[in-house]
Amino acid sequence: MIISVASGKGGTGKTTVAVNLALSLKNVQFLDCDVEEPNAHIFLKPHIGGEKKAFIPVPEVDEAKCTYCGKCREVCAYHAIAVLPGSDGKKGSVLVFPHLCHGCGACSLFCSQGAIKEVNREIGVIEIGEKGDLQFIHGCLNIGEAMSPPLIRQVKEYINATRTVIIDAPPGTSCPVITAVKGNDFCVLVTEPTPFGLNDLILAVEVLRKLQIPFGVVINRSDIGDGKVEDYCGNENIPILMKIPFSREIAVSYSEGVPIVESDVSYKDKFINLYLDICKIKK
């Protein structure tokens, strides 16, 4: 089963829930898909055994073959190629803007001269490691890189569905989150009982309903704020899978990179129950 942990609002406790759930189960494969700000390794402290660079294909133009016909510019939906035709016997020129390229391959397919080949542009790294019987994989986007979905897709290529796969998703409701949760069997939405938490939970619920992924809610710091998140879940028939009350001890262990199940072992059963509840809903 593939379970992702997501939230509209950032900082509600996605990584906390994902990590502690993973540490409470056996035979887990953990994928940190929050490639802009991956944090799960801070808590899991895996032994990293391998590293692979992640690339996207971008065009490289061989100007010896190029006739400056402009077809590549015409088919590129992202304005990632500019072609200046030659005139008065002067050579034209082609400019590629690799940061705008999504790697769709249209330019090289349509070049009638075979002047465009695709070369790899590095966008980040994927690290693979382990902790006990847990396999750990995360992506880390290079600084200054705008597009995280291609890297998230490459992290997800490692999914081994024979294990319990836990995906730590990025915050928000747009393409990075969708790329991370797409195709999952279940999504745990982590929220907090504040107006911000509720507002962003509603957005995240809309995303999951659109993607038709079954989901439930974990309310973190459940004793602060107000009761409106619970009212909302009640009205919408959304299962509340778990509540984690605020505790200064949990906050302090979190700050030092210590998972809850290590500072308070009674939480292990609670996370196992969370998993069992998810299994029941899936049936």
Binding site: G10, G105, S255
Partner: protein, 282 residues
């Protein structure tokens, strides 16, 4: 006119609480909420929407079922897995590259302009506010951020305002880059946790990459004093001024629940510190 963006790398460190306080403290400014896919600042500013605009961006694929011969050419060239086996489009996987429409031998595929969200110009008790709502499961949030920043900048120039104050999104990807580019100062709000430090380092590097001057505040600093010290030490080495440390204060949540900024909520000690931070920025 100065543009100031509040960012964090890590989500939930208190960007919107800080930016909302600046709304109450700063004179002659326009507020902008650039966290367009999970916008929250409106919950503190209670805007009255004056203008509402569609955000058109990118293109989306439409396959004409009557013309389609199910030859499979489109699925063979699509690298985003956006064409399903029944030759319908999975909209949220499509990146709008249009390659399928160029390749279709039967002319069955056309591209249509996509409405990816909405943006608004509003009035609030603290002055003008430009904000947006990205459509559910839409992309191009960076372009929407660029759009509302441009609108806010023009508004500031027209009304002769002193500041454009931007509440930024979490992360370091495209909407953050769009929120950061060309600002006069980026204020990083972080928390005294290993994750907060790790993410602040990455967003600091990003700001440096774009040559933006950076200042930092530590929120809830007393939750872990040793970690706060570690963050301060790191900032010293990087030459980044730490211009404030905000105490962990449960009244912050009480203020949020009644929809108030923390500087307007009586007895909030965190609000007192944020006031000093704004004076420093000013």
């Amino acid at each position: 006119m100065k543009q100031i963006v509040v960012i964090s790398g890590k989500g939930g460190t208190g960007k919107t609480v800080v930016a909302g306080s600046f709304a109450a403290l700063a004179k002659n400014k326009v507020m902008v909420d650039c966290d367009v896919d999970a916008a929250d600042l409106h919950l503190l500013l209670h805007p009255t929407v004056k203008e509402r605009h569609e955000f058109r961006s990118g293109q989306t694929v439409v396959i004409d079922k009557k013309v389609c011969k199910k030859c499979g050419k489109c699925t063979s060239v699509c690298r985003f897995g956006a064409i399903k086996t029944d030759y319908t489009i999975e909209h949220f996987s499509c990146e709008g590259c249009a390659l399928c429409s160029h390749m279709c031998p039967h002319g069955a595929i056309r591209m249509e302009e996509n409405i990816a969200g909405e943006w608004f110009v509003s009035d609030t008790q603290h002055g003008p506010f430009v904000h947006a709502k990205l459509g559910i499961a839409e992309e191009n949030s960076g372009k929407l951020v660029a759009k509302i920043r441009q609108v806010a900048k023009e508004l500031a120039e027209k009304q002769n305002l002193n500041y454009v104050i931007i509440d930024g999104p979490p992360g370091i990807g495209c909407p953050v880059i769009a929120s950061l580019s060309g600002v006069d100062c980026a204020l990083i709000v972080t928390e005294p946790t290993l994750s907060g430090l790790h993410d602040a380092q990455r967003v600091m590097e990003l700001a440096e990459h774009f040559n933006i001057s950076v200042k930092l505040v530590v929120n809830k600093y007393d939750l872990n004093l040793a970690m706060t010290e570690r963050i301060e030490e790191f900032c010293r080495k990087q030459g980044v001024p730490v211009i404030g440390k905000i105490v962990f204060d449960k009244t912050v949540v009480k203020a949020l629940v009644v929809g108030k900024t923390i500087v307007e909520y009586a007895g909030c000690s965190a609000g007192v510190e944020v006031r000093k931070i704004w004076e420093d920025l000013e």
